[in-house]
Symmetry: D2
Subunit: 506 residues, 4 copies
C-alpha cells in the first residue's frame, strides 16, 4: 500500500509521541503549524510515488517480497537501483529542499547488510527478524527516523569514560523478552513526524563499550521516549517564500529506560558489527546526500537565473555573471557525478544487496560538504545586495510606502517589481536565513564531518594497487608486451570493483 501525502499526515494521528517544540508540548504533530513544513516535505516522497512520470524512479520492486514499494524503503539490488535512488532523492529534494525520508532508505540498507554479517559471525538470527520488520514497514509505507548521533559529552573520551553515561544510548538491561535502552541521541532529523526510530550506533565501539553497540526499532511514542525539537523550516514567517512551506525539524531524542522487544532488536552488543553498520549506513547515506544537495543546487541555479533576468542582466554579455552561474553548475554536477560513479561501481554484499562504491560516495559527500559555502557565495554573487536590503513583506501592504517602493525596486521594465522582490526573498530564504544556515551546517556535518570522509576515502582507496603499478614501472620498466605491468588483471577501474561495470545499451 503506497500512501499519498494526505494519508501520511493522517497516519501520524495514530501516534502520541511526547514532543516539545520551543518549550511547549505539541498536542498533535499532524496539526502543529510549527511542524507543518516538515510534514509537507516528507509528504512529497509519498505524493511523487503516485505520479506516473516519476514511477520508475520513485517506486521499486522489493526483491525479497516481490512487492512494489516506495523507493525510500527499497533494498538496492543493482547499479540501476542506486542510480534511480540517487535521481529520486534529487527529484524530491529539488521540490522540498530536503525531503528527509531517504534516511529511512539508508538505514534499512545498512541494517540489511549488517544483520546478515552479524548472523554469519555470531550465529544470531537478526537478519530474519529484520526482514520481517522491514516488510511490515514497506507494507505500511512508514517513515523511520535515524537515531544515530549520540550526545557524546566530552569528545576526547569514550562512552565508558563519560561523566554522564547517558551521553550515549546504551543497553541497561537484557530481559528474556527484550532489552532496555537509555541515553540521548542529539541530532535526529525530522524526529517529531516520524513513525518510528531506528536506533543505531554512531561509531565503532570497543568491547568495553559494547552496550552502546545497539540497533533496534522504537515507535516514536514508546514509553520513555521524549522528543525535544526545533520548528521545521520557518513556519509562519511571511518572508519565507519557500521554507514556510517546506522545512526540516531536528530533534534531541531522550530514551529514558525504553523497553524494546526482541523482534525489534537487530544488534545488541556485537560491537565489531556495530562498527560495520555505522560504515555501511554512512556509505548509503553519503550517496543519498549527494542527490539531496544536488536538488538544492537545482533550486539555487533556477533562482539565480531568475534573479539575473529580473535585474536586467544577460549572462551572455556579462561574463562575470555567467562565470558565477557556471561555477554553481560545476559544483553541483561534479559532486552529483560522484554519486553516479558510486552507483556504477557499486559492490555486491553477501546479503544480496549492493552498496555504493565507498570512495566515490565519500568524495561526493566531502565535496558537497565543503562547497555548499561556495554555492551560497555564487548565488549571492549573481543576485546582488538587494537580497539583504529589501524591506520585509509587511512593507508590501503599507499604504504609505508601497507605491513608492514598488515603483523603484523593480529591475527590468517588463518584469513586475513584485516578481523581482519575490525571487529576491526566495534567495534570501534559501541562503541568508537560518534555513540557509541549516543547509550549510547539515551539509558539512550531516552524515559525518569531512574528517570522517577523508578517513574513509583513505581506508578504501586501492593505494597499494597504484604502488604496484609504479613499482613495476620503476623496478623492471615496462616489458615490451606491457602485460606484466599490472599485477591485478581486470583492475582497470580504480575503485575496487572486481569486474568491469556492465551497462546496458541506452
Amino acid at each position: 500500500m503506497l500512501m499519498d501525502a494526505a494519508g501520511y499526515r493522517d497516519s501520524l494521528r495514530a501516534y502520541k509521541p511526547r514532543v516539545f517544540v520551543n518549550g511547549s508540548r505539541v498536542e498533535s504533530v499532524a496539526d502543529e503549524p510549527l511542524l507543518a513544513p516538515g510534514v509537507n516535505a516528507v509528504g512529497v516522497t509519498y505524493e511523487f510515488a503516485h505520479a506516473p512520470e516519476h514511477a520508475a524512479v520513485m517506486t521499486a520492486r522489493q526483491g525479497t517480497s516481490g512487492k512494489t514499494v516506495n523507493r525510500m524503503l527499497h533494498i538496492d539490488e543493482t547499479s540501476q537501483d542506486l542510480l534511480h535512488k540517487l535521481e529520486a532523492v534529487r527529484l524530491v529534494c529539488r521540490v522540498s529542499g530536503c525531503a528527509q525520508r531517504y534516511l529511512t532508505h539508508d538505514a534499512l540498507n545498512g541494517i540489511f547488510q549488517a544483520t546478515r554479517r552479524t548472523d554469519d559471525a555470531h550465529g544470531t538470527d537478526y537478519a530474519g527478524r529484520f526482514l520481517a520488520y522491514m516488510h511490515r514497514v514497506q507494507d505500511a509505507d512508514l517513515t523511520l527516523g535515524v537515531a544515530m548521533t549520540d550526545a557524546k559529552g566530552d569528545r576526547s573520551k569514550r562512552p565508558g569514560q563519560q561523566a554522564n553515561p547517558d551521553s550515549y544510548v546504551h543497553i541497561t538491561e537484557r530481559r528474556p523478552d527484550g532489552i532496555i535502552i537509555r541515553g540521548t541521541k542529539a541530532i535526529v532529523t525530522g524526529a517529531p513526524y516520524m513513525h518510528e526510530f531506528l536506533v543505531m550506533p554512531c561509531r565503532t565501539h570497543t568491547a568495553e563499550d559494547g552496550a552502546c553497540a545497539v540497533c533496534c526499532a522504537v515507535p516514536v511514542d514508546a514509553a520513555g521516549v521524549t522528543i525535544v525539537a526545533r520548528p521545521a523550516g520557518r513556519p509562519g514567517e511571511a518572508a519565507a517564500k519557500f521554507s514556510a512551506k517546506y522545512g526540516q525539524s531536528t530533534g534531541v531524542v531522550i530514551f529514558d529506560d525504553v523497553f524494546v522487544p526482541h523482534d525489534r532488536v537487530f544488534l545488541a552488543g556485537e560491537h565489531e558489527e556495530g562498527g560495520f553498520l555505522t560504515t555501511s549506513y554512512a556509505t548509503h547515506h553519503r550517496h543519498s546526500c549527494i542527490g539531496a544537495r544536488a536538488g538544492f543546487g537545482d533550486l539555487l541555479i533556477g533562482a539565480g537565473a531568475l534573479m539575473i533576468q529580473a535585474n536586467g542582466l544577460d549572462p551572455e554579455r556579462h561574463g562575470h555573471i555567467r562565470e558565477a552561474m557556471v561555477e554553481l553548475i560545476t559544483i553541483t554536477e561534479s559532486f552529483y557525478a560522484c554519486g553516479v560513479a558510486s552507483s556504477v561501481y557499486c559492490t555486491h554484499d553477501p546479503a544480496g544487496s549492493v552498496m555504493p562504491d565507498a570512495v566515490f560516495s565519500n568524495i561526493g559527500k566531502l565535496l558537497l560538504a565543503t562547497k555548499i559555502y561556495d554555492m551560497h557565495r555564487a548565488a549571492h554573487y549573481v543576485s546582488g545586495g538587494l537580497i539583504v536590503a529589501l524591506p520585509g513583506p509587511d512593507e508590501d501592504h503599507n499604504p504609505e510606502t508601497q507605491a513608492s517602493l514598488s515603483a523603484v525596486l523593480g529591475g527590468r521594465a517588463d518584469i513586475p517589481a513584485e516578481q523581482r522582490l519575490e525571487v529576491s526573498r526566495l534567495i534570501e530564504d534559501l541562503t541568508v536565513s537560518h534555513q540557509g544556515g541549516w543547509y550549510s551546517v547539515i551539509s558539512l556535518h550531516g552524515g559525518g564531518s569531512p574528517e570522517a570522509m577523508k578517513r574513509e576515502i583513505w581506508r578504501n582507496y586501492p593505494v597499494m594497487e597504484k604502488v604496484d603499478l609504479v613499482e613495476s614501472l620503476l623496478d623492471r620498466g615496462v616489458a615490451a608486451d606491457g602485460r606484466r605491468v599490472s599485477k591485478q588483471p581486470g583492475r582497470c577501474c580504480t575503485t575496487g570493483c572486481e569486474t568491469p561495470a556492465l551497462i546496458a545499451v541506452k
Copy 2:
C-alpha cells in the same frame, strides 16, 4: 565635543525622521526596540573614544582645525592615520559586529578629495563649503549615513534610459538658494539612526546623466525624506546571543523632491568628478571594510576556540581542528595585512590628505568578500553539528525537559553545559541566522561587488612597469651593472608609490 554612547542616543531625539520598519511608522528612533541593536553598535564608536587605552586609535587631531575629533570623522594625513583608522575599525567591530560609523569617515575623506579636485577643474567653491560643513559635523560629533547605492532599475540601462527616472537620485531643479533632488537610494546602512545623509553618486555617469552626479548633505528628517528600514540585528530574539544587542539596519531612502541649500551641496552635475568621488570613497571604504571584517574574524576565532574547548577537544592533538583554526586565522590576517600594506603605501592627494593604496585596498576587500564564506565554513567545522540541532532557548526553562537536556548536552565535564550551549548559540547567531547571512552578503557586495574590485586592481596596477622589466631582460639582457634594468629608479615598491615608504623606529 566628543559624545558618549548615551549622549549619541539622546541626540537622536532632536530628529523627527519619517521611518517605517516592518510596515509600521517608528515614533522615536532612540526608543524603538527594533532599532536598538543598531544604536548600540554605533554607540561603541562614541564610547571607546573616551577610553584612555583606546584614545590613540579612537581619536585624532584634525589638521584643518587643530581640534581633537572622533577617528570616525577624521581626515587622514599620514600612513599612521590610516593604520590607526584600520585598527580603530577592527576594535569597534570586534565588539559590535559592525559599528557602521566608519562609513562616515570614508565619505568625508572621499568628498574632501573630490571637492578640491572639482574646484581645481571648474573654479567652483565646493571645498570651502565642505570644510565648513565638516567642521560643524566634527564639532557636533555626528554620524552621517552614506546614501550612495541607487535603486538602479534595469542593470543594463543607464539612468536616462530607465523606465522610472527615480531609479537614480538626481537633481530635478536648480534654484538660486539650492537644488531639489529626487529618487531612491536602495541600500543605506544604518539609515534610521543617522543624523544626516551624505548623498553621493554610485558610479561614473555620462554627461547626459549629469543630473545624477550630485553630492550633498541632507538631515534625516528633511522634508520629503522617507526611510523604509529593516530591524537592526535580531532584537528580542532569545537565541540571539549577540545580535539582540548589536546589529545593523539597512534602509531604502526615498527622496521625494527634497530641497538642499547651497552650503550643503558639494557636487552638482560635474560628472567626471562624480566618478572620481565614487572611486575615492570606494578606496577609503574598502580599506575600512578590511578592519571591520577582521573584527568579525576575531569574534569567530574566539568563539571557535571556546567551542572546541567546551567539546573537550584539543587543537594540539586533533590536527584537523587546528588546521581549521589556522585557516580561519590565515584568512583573517591575510586580508588584514592588505589593509596594513595599503596604509603604508598610501598616496598623497592634492587636497592635503592621504588615500590608501588602491591596489592593496581592493585586494583586501576582494579577499574578504569571497572568503567570508570560508570563514563561516571553518567556524562550522570546528563547532560541530550541534549549532543547528540545539533546542531553542525557550527549552532552557521548560521544567519537563530542562534537567535531562542539560545533563546530556554538556561536553567537557568541567565546563557547565550552559556555557557550551551559550557559545553554541553565539556561533549560530553569528553564522547560521539571518544575521550571519547578512554578514556574508554585505561582505560580498558592500562597497562594490568583486567584479568592481577586480577592475580597480587592474586599472591601478603598474603592469607596464613589469612589462618594462621583462622587456629589459629579454631585449638587452641585464647589463653587468644591472642598473639599466629598471627604467623607473626608486620604484622598488610595486604599487605606485613614488618614494620608498618611511617608517619610524618602533
Copy 3:
C-alpha cells in the same frame, strides 16, 4: 588485423614524412631516438589490445562492420562503450603517461556524427566516403593524428582578416578529383609518428571563412607536408626515470598546397557543420582527456605513496601527509567521476552512435585542467624538498662521492637509498621537469582552454528547466499532488537525457 607494438613501429617505415626535430631532418621516424618515447607510448595501445585481461576494454566490435577493432578506433554505440573507452584510456595512460592514440578515437567519432549531419543538411555523400575510409583505417589498425589547432595569428581577428592567410589551413583550390589545402596547424600531438592526419577546423567559422571549414585525411608523407616537431619526452636523459621511455612529441604541421582526393574529403566549406564537428570532436575528446589524466593521477598517487614510505613516514600517524594524499585522490577521482557520469547520461546521435553528455564531459575536463596544478602541489607536498635537491644520476657513479651520498641520502633503514633516490627522481621527472610542465599546460589548454569549457557548460545546461522548477514553486507553490511541478515529465536527471538511464544489473 590488430597490430602489436613492434608491428606498429615497423609500420612507420612504410612512410617517408618530412620531419624536423631540433633543427635536423629525421631520416627514419621508427629509428629516431628523439622520438622513441612517443613511439613507445602509442605502442602501449597496440600491445594491450592483445592482453587477454584487457580485451574487454581495449577492443570492441565495430557495429558497421561487425569486426573486432582496437578501442582507440571504435565508434561508440552504448553507454558501456563510453565507459570502456574511458577505462581503456586510463589504463594505457597510467602506463605511458599519455598514450595519445585516443585522439584518433575522438576524431573518428566526431567526423562520424558530422558527416551524417552534413549529408542530411546538404545532400552530400560524406558519410559513405568516411565510413569506407574508417573501415580501411580499422582494418589496417592505423593511428591518425589530429591536425586541428590552427596557427591563428592575431587572436582578435578572423581568418580572413589575418595578415598571413596561412595562419589557418584552408582550401585554395577545388579540382574535379579533389581539393588543395594550404596553411599551418600549430599543435599536433604525436605528429611525426602518426600514419595519417585528420585535418579538422578548430572553431566555428563564418560563411566568409568557409574555406577554412575543411575536414580531410592526409598521409603524413603526402607531398607538401612538413612536420616540425619537438622530441618526445626526455629521450636520453639519465635522470628521466619515466619520460626517457615514454613521452609525447608535439609538432607544427605545414600544409604547402597539399592535394587531397575526394574519397578523403569529409567536409569542404559547409561552415555550420564545421562548427558542429569542432564541438562533437571536443566533447569526445574532453571525455577521453578525463581518462588520460586520471591515469596520470594513478602514477602520482602510487609514486607519492612510495616516497612517503621511503621517507619513513606513515599516513596513519602523520595526518597532514594523509590529508595531501586524500586531496590527490579526491581530485583524480572527482574528475574521473564526471567521465563516468558523462558516459551514463550519453546522448544518441542520428548517425547511430552515442556522444558523451556534454555538461559532464566539459566539467570533467575543466576540473582536470585547473586542478592538475593542485595535483603537482600535493605530490610535491608528500615528497619533500629532496626531489629538487638530489644530485643528478651522473653522481651515482662518481667514486669520490657515491659512497658518502648513498650512506646519508637514504630514508627508512630497511629501504635501500637507491630505491628512495629512484622514486624521488620519478616524481621529479613527472612533475618538476619540462615533461611535468608539459602535462600541466596540455591539461590546461589541450582540447580547448577553460573558457571554452565554461561556454559549453553554459550552452548545454538545462537552465530553463531549473527556472521552470523555481517558477512553479514561486508562482503556484507546489500543488498537493506535486505532479504539476515539473513541466518535463521524466526529466529527473538534469543533464539533458530524455529518458532515465538504464543500467543492467551488475
Copy 4:
C-alpha cells in the same frame, strides 16, 4: 668595502672548495659554466648596492659598527629596516629570479638573536664572538651559505635513533681550541659559490641529541668539506631565455670531521637555544621568501602581459584574460602584504634587533608556498598552449623551415614573430622547464614546509586574547562604557605587538 658583481666573482678564486657537479670535479667555481648563472644571480645583490637609485634599500648602516653594509648582511633595527629588506629582496629577485644572498641576512639576524639569548641563559660568550665574526663578514662583503637542512634519514626517528648518525651534522669531538663536526646537510642553496657556510640546527633537538645543536661558520674550502651540487639554472640551453643567465644551484654538503675553531662557534650543544635559533632564523627567512617570490611574481606578470599583447588580445575586452591577470596580481600582492604587515608589527629582541612578526611572516610564506602553483596556472592560462608546442631554438636557424615557421607563428601583425616566440620561451623557461619546477618546490618546502608554518601560526597567534573578548561579550555582555571588554588595553592590533605601531608621516 662593498664589492661589485665582478669583484664578487673574482673573490671566489681565493677559495678552493671540493665541488662536484654532474659527477665531475669543478676546477674553478668562478669559471665553471655550469655554475655561472648562480654566480650571476648573487652578483646582482653586489651590483645593485652601487646603484644610486637603489642605495636606500640595498645598503644600510650597521648599528653595531656604524658602517654602511650591504642590506643582505645587515642586522635590522627598525620596522623600516624590515620593509627595506623586503623591498630589496623583491628588487634583486625580480631581476635574477632568486638572488639567494638574502639567506645570509636571515642567518646573521637569527644567530644575532640566539647568541645573546644563549649567553643570557648559560653565561657563555657567543654573542661577542659572533659580533666580531659578523663585522669581518660585513667588512669583506661576503656571501654565506646556510647549511641547515640535515639529510634526516628516517623521518619518523630522532637523530640518535638513526641507522646512520651522519644523517644529522653533529659535534663528534670537543677540543681545547674548537670542535669537530661531522654529517651531511642535504639542501644548501648556492653551496658551490658561497664564501663560507653557516652551519645551523634544522629543528629543536632533545637533550640526548644535544650534539646536533651546533651553529658555526665554516669556509667552503675547509678541510673535510665536500660539495655535491646541481648546475645553477639551465646553463648553455638555448631555449633558456632567462635561466641560462640566472639560476640557483643546490648542493649536498658533506662535513667529514671538520675542525671549527672557537671563534667561529656560536652554539655547541645548548639544545633549547638551538630550537630558538631554528625559529628565529625561520621567521626572518620566511619574511625574505615573501620578497623573493613577489619578485618572481613581477616576472610572471610582466611576461604574461607581453604574451597577451603578442597574441593580439586585449584584457579590457577579454574578461577572462583580465581575470587571470588579476588573479596573478592578487596572489602576488596579497602575500607581499603579509610581508609588509610583518615588518610594521615587528617585535624587539633583547639583543637590540627587531624580528618580523611571526604570524604575518608565516602566513605570507604559507600563502606563497601553496599559491605558487596557481601563479603558474594563471601564467599558462594567459599565454596559451604555444609555450609547450613551439619548436626549439635550433629550428630558428634551420633554413628549410625558418621562413615558413616565422611566417605563421606570429600573432599580432605589428609585433615581429621573433618577439612572440621569445616571450613564449621565457614563460616556458620560468614555468614549464625544470627551472620552473624548482621554483615550485622551493617555494613549497624552502624555509620549512606548510605544516611547519601552520604550527608556527598557531603557536604565535593570540588566541586567548580572542577568547577573552568573546567571554566578555558572553558572560557579562558589554558594559555601557565598553571599556571593560578588553582585558588587555592597547591590544587593538591582534598580532602580539604591545603598543600600537608608530609610523612616521610619509
